[in-house]
């Protein structure tokens, strides 16, 4: 019963950071800062996945999105040297301050909760913690085993097709990005 309140509190904190980061991506003037907001979005989404119980996907989310896609975005933004556009943000200065304040409040609550867990005084029962940890580890192994068996047996054809699609996308991206330079020469 007490674990419910901890997980829900964490979920609300992550949901708040997620919503704030998404609003930051959409409404920030500077594209580089929007990309940094998007990184915060992806990381908190990975935390939400872990909270729901999909730890494999949380790891993959950080690896694929933050490690690959965001590097690609930032590289392109800096390659074409975007300046700040004159985009009238619908958020006033007060609204921005309120959002930043609320986000930092959520972050403080998160840190306090984590410290409470670390010191054993939180909602998690310290006596029950080892058993739940063992249960969680066992469940994680089972979940990833089920996931990999499902992926490599039932969806093997789709998996191979995805690799083909990625190859086509990479070759196509290189061709699209290079074609103009050859015409100019």
């Amino acid at each position: 019963m007490e674990e419910i309140s901890l997980r829900q509190t964490l979920f609300y904190c992550f949901a708040f950071v997620l919503t704030g980061s998404a609003l930051g991506v959409v409404f920030h003037r500077n594209p580089v800062k929007a990309a940094l907001f998007l990184i915060s979005f992806f990381v908190s989404l990975a935390a939400t996945y872990a909270l729901i119980g999909a730890e494999v996907l949380a790891t993959l989310q950080v690896l694929v999105y933050v490690g690959a896609i965001m590097v690609l975005f930032l590289f392109v933004i800096m390659l074409i040297a975007l300046r700040e556009e004159n985009f009238e943000s619908p958020l006033s200065n007060i609204g921005r301050t309120v959002i930043i304040g609320a986000l930092s409040l959520a972050f403080t609550i998160q840190v306090l909760l984590l410290l409470q867990i670390r010191s054993g005084k939180g909602d998690l029962n310290p006596a029950a913690a080892p058993t739940t940890a063992v249960q969680a580890g066992k469940q994680l192994t089972d979940a990833s085993q089920v996931l990999s068996v499902n992926l490599f047996r039932d969806y093997l054809l789709a998996f191979e097709l995805i690799s083909l699609l990625l190859l086509v996308a990479v070759v196509g991206a290189v061709m699209i990005a290079k074609r103009d330079r050859r015409q100019m020469e």
Binding site: V25, L45, A54, V64, Y65, F73, V146, A169
Partner: protein, 104 residues
Amino acid sequence: MPDLLSIREIVILAFVLFAIGVLGVITRRNLIIILMSVEIMLNAANLLFVAFSRGFNDSTGQIMVLFVMAIAAAESAVGLALVIALFRNARSVMTNAMDKLKDT
């Protein structure tokens, strides 16, 4: 083991995130920001997949999330290549710059 978080809150969160992504696609004119908003929408759909996969205890939803991630990577690579191609032609990444077919 029952999932302690209720599905309803996660569904509401995914709807809100998807709406924010749609808002970005509609209101912004910077192509890179539009691509980022598309990523937000894809991730909102992923969140729904994961939530229902855990709720129904069926790992098919998580497999679908894997495929969506791969397709999102391909989509962003091709999209950013298109943005670079547009920038080489029009010296801008705003959607206003795409008026080459206009009779002037």
